[in-house]
Amino acid sequence: MSRYFSEEHEWIEVDGDVGTVGITDYAQGQLGDITFVELPGVGQAVAKGDSVSVVDSVKAASDVYSPVSGEVTDVNAALGDAPELVNSDAETGGWLFRVKLSDAGELGSLMDAAAYEKYVEGL
């Protein structure tokens, strides 16, 4: 199990060849109250950097980009009735979707927790 971060403020927790993706606690704080999450379809092919999900807050509708390429295997159905989970539990229960990685090498271009923390401080 290991966790990576993107410059677009997504996190991915990789377990074997499946990654669980969400937005970071910093990102949810910037967005404000989340009112709706539009999720990708299970089975959908995604490429690294594709916009695959939309998070609506009272302030904006923001795209969520897949940090890796692969196929969507699961989505967090709980967000349908409780999108606010992304606010209260961004980096665990508020996950968005799972991807079966097609190229684990792509993880090399992401940051670890310490690097992401530095990156956020510089914003």
């Binding site: 709706f36 539009e38 379809g41 609506d56 807050s57 009272v58 904006a60 509708a61 795209d63």
Partner: protein, 456 residues
């Protein structure tokens, strides 16, 4: 605002910055054959204001206006009686001068009007939600197709041959730039609408089927059957209503399985107005609301629990979400929506049903009378206030001959479908509550005369 004229040097500098050689280069997207290459030939020399007014008045007097003669034109724009109070109320300064509220919550009156309008449209269409209006029926039709593509993630729309050709043209224009495939059927002079053809064309790539109700020839498609076929294929049913008064008698499309219902609201409150501005109506099922274009007004309570109105889901609009917005419409037809809403309020549900019954009754009288004219046959076995008659010759010629006799007898299919020989004998005839018995007799007499070839 000061007006500062430009010198030729200013212009040259500006052109240099944007990389254009001449001002004409800015119009290079306009095809050369439709551009003016020099002064307009034959324009007379300048004249005094009074002389020009007199000349223009003389030209205008050559027109036969809708209110000045027996009038049977429809085809997507309908002449109804609009109560004088509608025009009086919409001219109040608070309404007339209001523009898109970008600090919407300070414009509670505007928002409440829009909220009431949305409620009326949603009830009329039989759908969960309606937006605050679009530009007109044809653009609303395109927006519905684009929305269905977003919802289904498919890129093909199957169009009934009964969809107004101007709507089809608008859709095809937009689809040229989005890459959506438009599978449009040709209209046929049949008594029955082309439901079976539409159903046969729906497949796994179809985002939506688009059906007009009543259709361009006045026929009434079986929405429930088309909805079932669309649903089975994972496609949406888009229903287009160009004459909202019809819904005073016909079952609401949303109750017959329509996923998105759009239309033209001109009939109620707006008037013919030389073809615009008109009013686009748009509603859909609640589950698709986040993909709905345009603005949406919602009712809520403030911190003290008092009722108030807000614009909701604005985060999907163009001024916030830029190129990823659900649509590039970032406004609504506010004044026309207000006119619609006032007219609708004056009618009420019962009034609308009675108005619809009168419209249908008048059309029945016209159809029965025209059927007695030698050589004329009524195509439809069902219609609301508009139907198609088949003439023994070219309907365009007949319409011109009727106009020479001071009767505006209908819209020829040759005008709507130029060059389609199979349709050239068709004439669309519309009656509304404004149609008198004298109008009907005038039409029947003029038509008999024209078809007998009796010189005027």
């Amino acid at each position: 605002m000061r007006y500062l004229p430009l010198t030729p040097a200013d212009r040259a500098e500006m052109l240099g910055v944007i990389g254009a050689a001449t001002v004409d280069d800015l119009f290079s997207d306009v095809p050369a054959e439709v551009r003016l290459s020099g002064p307009i030939a034959g324009l007379p020399n300048h004249a005094s204001e009074m002389a020009v007014e007199r000349h223009m008045s003389a030209l205008a007097a050559k027109n036969i206006s809708a209110g000045s003669a027996p009038f049977f034109l429809g085809a997507g724009a309908y002449r109804h009686h609009i109560p004088a109070s509608v025009d009086h109320l919409i001219q109040r300064g608070e309404f007339l001068t209001a523009y898109t509220p970008y600090q919407p919550e300070i414009a509670q009156g505007t928002l409440q009007v829009l909220f009431e309008f949305q409620t009326q449209v949603a009830r009329l269409f039989g759908v969960d939600v309606a937006n605050a209006s679009m530009y007109d029926g044809s653009t609303a039709c395109w927006e519905a197709i684009a929305m269905a593509a977003r919802v289904t993630k498919r890129g093909k729309a199957v169009l009934s041959g009964g969809l107004h050709p101007h709507y089809v043209a608008c859709v095809e224009t937009m689809a040229r730039f989005t890459g959506d495939a438009i599978d449009a059927r040709a209209p046929k002079l049949d008594a029955a609408p082309d439901d079976a053809e539409v159903i046969a064309a729906i497949d796994k790539d179809t985002a939506c089927a688009v059906v007009q109700y009543p259709d361009i020839l006045g026929r009434i498609p079986d929405l429930a059957a088309i909805s079932a076929a669309a649903q089975a294929a994972g496609a949406l049913l888009v229903v287009v209503v160009t004459e909202p008064v019809a819904l005073g008698l016909l079952e609401a499309p949303g109750h017959l399985g329509a996923d998105i219902v759009v239309g033209e609201g001109q009939s109620l409150g707006v008037g013919l107005q030389f073809g615009g501005p008109y009013l686009g109506l748009f509603g859909c099922r609640e589950k698709y609301v986040r993909q709905m274009p345009g603005r949406l007004c919602g009712e809520t309570v403030d911190a003290d629990g008092r009722r108030g109105f807000v614009l909701t889901l604005s985060t999907r609009e163009q001024h916030i979400r830029r190129e990823k917005a659900t649509s590039n419409i970032c406004t609504n037809s506010g004044l026309c929506a207000l006119a619609f809403s006032i007219h609708m309020s004056l009618l009420g549900g019962e009034g609308l049903a009675r108005l619809a019954a009168v419209n249908h009754g008048r059309a029945q009288v016209v159809a029965a009378r025209l059927a007695k004219v030698p050589g004329v046959s009524v195509l439809n076995d069902a219609y609301f206030n508009e139907f198609t008659v088949v003439l023994p010759g070219d309907a365009r010629e007949v319409v011109r001959a009727l106009a020479d006799r001071q009767v505006l007898g209908g819209v020829s299919l040759g005008r709507l479908y130029p060059g389609v020989d199979a349709l050239h004998s068709g004439l669309l005839v519309t009656a509304t509550e404004t149609t008198t018995d004298e109008d009907i007799e005038a039409l029947a007499a003029a038509l008999s005369e024209v078809l007998e070839g009796v010189p005027a």
